[in-house]
Amino acid sequence: MLEVIDLHTDLLLRGGTVRAVDGVSMRVDAGETLGVVGESGCGKSMLALSILRLVPTPPAKITGGRIMFKGKDLLALNDAEMRKIRGADISMIFQEPMTSLNPVVTIGRQLAEAVRLHQHLSRRDAADKTVEMLRLVRMPEAERRVHDYPHHMSGGMRQRVMIAMALSCNPKVILADEPTTALDVTIQAQLLDLMGQLQEKLGTAMVLITHDMGLIAENADRVMVMYAGMKVEEAEVNELFANPLHPYTRGLLGSIPHLELGSGADSGRKRLQEIEGNVPSLQNLPAGCAFAARCPHATAQCRELVPPLEQWSPGHWAACWHAAAGAA
């Protein structure tokens, strides 16, 4: 459905050029959920913004690659054609529900904006469709809520509105950029559940960007792990959790806190596992593997040469010189 081939997005900053998205390729098919995991600053949001060509263009610039959707390269389209795709074929859900809605416009009008733009519905039809969408995202009292302003709603409700907005024109792909990070866990569960159901119903492909491995485990079909702007591992979800090949992935999985009941002096009290060190400054990437400085298995080869992404078992790719050792 959507295939990104060797995408490069650079940030031209005063201190140097940052390769925010550094040769990333990915694909997602209809009805499938691709999870994109990584810590803050690894480029996952920039990847999503690049797909829709929404990167803030003075500092950022898409410098290479192709984004194939419906047989066309999105990077080759002009503005008008791209605007037709945004919202109608590919739409995005943002992280911060508190600021993603215009504070001075009712949510009904904001919701209607997408359908009026793409489906050219009359005001009345759009209003009906808006209420229908709100019901779809299980908003109570939808007909009344349509006239509310964003500040009348809680974060969870606003995110439902954003989900409704993203789905209003039945897009083929949804890019969900940390859609529940700003909300509490119970709402998180409800919303992801909702999105899953709608996805099933409408056959939408979803790219779920998050830093929460738990969400990935529950909701993704395949997962890709990003680090310092590059993809370092990709696998089907169960395979990734059972058999992580890249040391970074293993670090991520290892750092998930576990609740354990035990007996005796250290019942349930285990020190949180961490990944030592920090992400290198993207303006000053070291030669070789970007993770080498923090990797317990790093060798001279790792510090000199960037490992390519290779398939170590069917459907499982990793960018590590020593992935085989890890798989053992």
Binding site: I85, L101, E113, A166
Partner: protein, 288 residues
């Protein structure tokens, strides 16, 4: 999870309550309302004609016949003041409205589109703002020639840069807000984003500046009329009245003091009103 919408009355009370908290702002509002209302109903007030010449009564002091005396042609000062209010106030409001009509869209587009357009607009504004506003207005009016319309145009030209820079500053910060990105992500074209999403969020300081701008416009219009460039006889504004009365400062001081006092009151009123609006519209104001 019930809706927390308050009734219209309650919301209005909240908003205007902030305004009403300042006695100065209320004073400003009262001044403005009184002046505008008086100017508006002037023809219905049954006053003596402001243009009726009665040379026998010239330069008479305030009396029961003429509440504020007469000028050198025997015209009733009080009546001229009130009719002058119509001229001064309407010209000032019109000039500011024109400045907003030109300046706000200019600032919106320059701020949102950026690049060469923004640079070009800003440099043009710099050129206009390099000259003292009153001097520039006088010069423009002199070039255009005497007359009320030309005076208004001159004032508008001088007032445009303030509005443009104000709006542009707001736009520069708003255009990076999440809801603008969200609007772009659903494919909204630029003009929809600028006028439906950016403009309503940028408009508050413009409203405040509008009130303050009217104060500036009144002074400038009076100055223009004082030197003969604005209102032309028989139309007379407060500025023209000051010009006439100036010649008789020793004989009939009320001829200068009355219009001058009203100019002062009007400008004070609009300035206080502007400050009150700023308090009312500022989302960061502390609420008691």
């Amino acid at each position: 999870m019930t809706s927390c919408r308050k009734s219209l009355v309650a919301r209005a009370q909240l908003v205007f309550g902030r305004f009403a908290r300042s006695r100065l702002a209320l004073a400003g509002l009262v001044l403005v309302v009184v002046l505008v209302a008086t100017a508006a109903i002037a023809p219905l007030m049954g006053l003596q004609s402001p243009d009726e010449i009665d040379t026998l009564a010239m330069l008479s002091s305030p009396s029961s016949d003429h509440l504020l005396g007469t000028d050198d042609l025997g015209r009733d000062t009080f009546s001229r003041l009130i009719h002058g209010a119509r001229v001064s106030l309407s010209a000032s409001v019109a000039a500011v409205a024109l400045a907003m009509l030109v300046g706000v869209p200019l600032g919106l587009v320059a701020g949102y589109v950026g690049g060469a357009l923004d640079e070009g607009v800003m440099r043009m504004l710099d050129a206009v703002m390099a000259l003292p506003p009153l001097v520039l207005a006088l010069t423009i009016a002199a070039v255009l020639g005497p007359g009320m319309i030309n005076g208004m145009l001159a004032i508008a030209v001088v007032a445009v840069p303030t509005f443009t820079r104000l709006v542009r500053g707001q736009v520069l910060s708003i255009k990076h807000d999440d809801y603008v990105t969200a609007a772009r992500s659903i494919g909204a074209p630029r003009r929809v984003i600028i006028f439906r999403h950016v403009l309503p969020n940028a408009i508050n300081p413009v409203i405040v500046q509008g009130a303050l701008g009217i104060g500036f416009a009144i002074i400038t219009e009076s100055s223009l009329s004082f030197i003969g460039l604005g209102a032309q006889p028989p139309t007379s504004s407060w500025g023209s009245m000051v010009q006439v009365g100036f010649q008789y400062l020793e004989l009939a001081p009320w001829l200068v003091m009355a219009p001058a006092l009203l100019i002062f009151a009007a400008v004070l009123g609009f300035n206080l009103l502007g400050e009150g609006l700023r308090e009312m519209l500022d989302p960061n104001a502390r609420s008691r």
